[in-house]
């Protein structure tokens, strides 16, 4: 039975769904807070923790996100760095049809691991 939780901070909402196989975070709206890490880091850390260092895949779906400022990338790339150091399995999904997402997330492909544990997928 999936469990779900929602987190909202001003114009950004994140829905977390956990099943036996995976933990999914779906981002919606705009992430343009002055210090987005304050809101995001506990959610991202919590998701990695639920992933159990690779037992479950953690999926972050940005495809419905309308905007993220550069400050939002800081907690995100720190999470990618942390995930790469452990056994975490992490998939970032984005909307390839939106040019800003295609540009932003193609740069994040630098964090993909050769074994596919950390991966990005345009959809």
């Amino acid at each position: 039975m999936p469990t779900t939780e929602s987190f909202t901070e001003k114009t950004l909402s994140i829905d977390l769904t956990e099943t036996d196989e995976r933990v999914e975070l779906v981002w919606k709206g705009k992430s343009n807070d002055r210090d987005p890490a304050r809101f995001l880091m506990p959610i991202l850390q919590n998701a990695l923790g639920r992933g159990g260092n690779g037992k479950k895949q953690v999926v972050i779906d940005f495809s419905s996100l309308d905007y993220m400022n550069s400050s939002t990338f800081s907690p995100l790339v720190r999470m990618l760095d942390e995930a790469a150091k452990g056994q975490h399995r992490l998939l970032l999904e984005y909307n390839q049809g939106r040019k800003w997402q295609a540009l932003s997330f193609s740069a994040l492909k630098a964090f993909e691991t050769p074994d596919g544990r950390i991966a990005l997928r345009g959809k």
């Binding site: 210090d35 550069s70 720190r78 800003w100 740069a107 630098a110």
Partner: protein, 161 residues
């Protein structure tokens, strides 16, 4: 692309600068830029305004941050003006950040390198230079700045078409 100019004088407050996204985007679309260009340049304006609010040297409540978007025949110029910070080290750091981006063969490489640098550092709020690298890469803009005789820092991003 129709030539034109868009100017705003804003209270240096986070919510105020966030709220002008739609106005910038509409102006750029109305002057013939396509959706993707208008989005990228609205992002550029937003990042410059955020930097001005975060790091500007505001010392009294009457001071403002100014945004000007100029659409010329071959380029779009986005300029944000705010009181310069009194600490010369901040200006030197800004200059170094811009020179660092220019030192790369492509803005993409600079942006990826900056993302890697940020990822390896422990979290602390403050200047990472990520916004400037993003402007160069996603906004496809050339960055520059000067400080005028009234100690106003004018930061520009020029997008050549």
């Amino acid at each position: 692309m129709r030539q034109g100019r868009f100017e705003l004088r804003l209270v240096p407050d986070w919510d105020t600068v966030k709220s002008i996204w739609d106005d910038c985007h509409r102006f750029l679309l109305e002057h013939g830029l396509d959706q993707d260009q208008a989005y990228a340049l609205s992002m550029t304006a937003q990042e410059l305004l955020e930097n001005a609010v975060k790091y500007g040297g505001f010392t009294n409540p009457s001071q403002r941050v100014e945004l000007a978007i100029t659409i010329a025949s071959r380029e779009v110029i986005i300029e944000v003006r705010a009181p310069a910070h009194r600490d010369p080290v901040k200006l030197r750091k800004l200059d170094e950040s811009i020179q660092w981006i220019r030192g790369y063969q492509s803005p993409f490489e600079a942006y990826v390198e900056k993302l890697k640098q940020v990822s390896a550092q422990p979290y602390a709020p403050g200047e990472s230079g990520l916004g400037l690298a993003r402007i160069a890469y996603e906004g496809q803009c050339v960055l520059d700045f000067y400080v005028d005789e009234t100690d106003v820092l004018a930061m520009s991003a020029v997008h050549h078409r």
